[in-house]
């Protein structure tokens, strides 16, 4: 049996103010190629408590539909207890990110991320200003 490998890297991606959503599929694919792993899985993790990762069809219409639903989970125009501690106006950003979750697993098959045709991986910035989001990538497999 081939010996297992573990490959780690970090990608950085500029994202507009929240709810900002960027397609990172090509960057993950580059990481998989660099890893030399043919079959296994890739873990992505968004550093920082106002960012998250998920998958969606990267099409402008459904992206705006997703933004609407995320802003209903924790509306920006509401009072947040977090403001009493920090007064930085991003209480909703923290709650949205905690509900979405920072981590995601993508299968690697034949040296590529195994995704549906209309399924892309996105990084989400929930914060009130633009952010350069750091995403830790860990790929493991054979």
């Amino acid at each position: 049996m081939a010996e297992m490998k573990c490959f780690t890297t970090q990608i950085q991606i500029a994202v507009e103010q929240g709810v900002g959503i960027v397609d990172i599929t090509a960057k993950l694919q580059e990481a998989v190629q660099e890893s030399g792993i043919a079959n296994g899985s890739l873990q992505g993790f968004c550093i920082g408590s106002t960012g998250s990762l998920t998958c969606i069809e990267y099409e402008p219409g459904v992206i705006s539909d997703l933004v609407r639903s995320i802003n209903e989970l924790a509306p920006p125009d509401r009072e947040y207890e977090h403001e009493k501690a920090w007064m930085d106006g991003n209480g909703h950003s923290h709650v949205q990110a905690a509900l979405m979750g920072p981590s995601l697993d993508i299968p690697i098959r034949n040296g590529r991320c195994s995704l549906g045709t209309w399924q892309q991986v996105v990084a989400i910035n929930h914060d009130v200003g633009p952010r350069t989001r750091k995403i830790e990538i860990t790929a493991m497999g054979i």
Copy 2:
């Protein structure tokens, strides 16, 4: 120390139109047995942008309660920008799936999925018609 293994397979499961929910615990357990892995973890990933994975007690009452809450996250009877691109009536399906997330990690202990007694793994179809959902399975461990 035992050498680490990486085992990959794909399961396919027929799921009713959205929100359709199917217990896949037994199929994951079969994959773990086939892998020969005693201790490690299993990553499941639902291929396609209108499907998701999570855990719940697989009991008809709470399944219908979950369907209700998922349909409140992104109600089917609402206008979606996604319709302007595709007109296939599944804007809510994409948003629901993105909020739930396509991936899940299950621990493997003593050759079995380590779950609570009342905790099952489910595949969810959010789309407007029945679908055969493809789920990539990656098991790693010793």
Copy 3:
């Protein structure tokens, strides 16, 4: 190349009745140190269908903001079909936990969990009474 390792352990943590939220970052960090893994990833999984894991800034204000939003996803003061099966008053707990998800991946870098400065890992108890939550930890890497 260094040989890959797989380390497994279980942590137990007392959590108040739902929505109860406890910072488990230090316990995960202890597990990483015990594993001897320098670079890879750690999978956490909450055993039981009324618990979940996520990340948030562990600050009392935003924790109460998160509790509010979780209780809006599946309000406790509503009728649940789950009650007809079990009458144990925790239908909302099951739905909340299924929406949040039981699993989380944390990157390991230089022998530590790689998190943002204001980003902590939390275990959530959604049930109607206090619970000792069991969390399976699987760390893999080199």
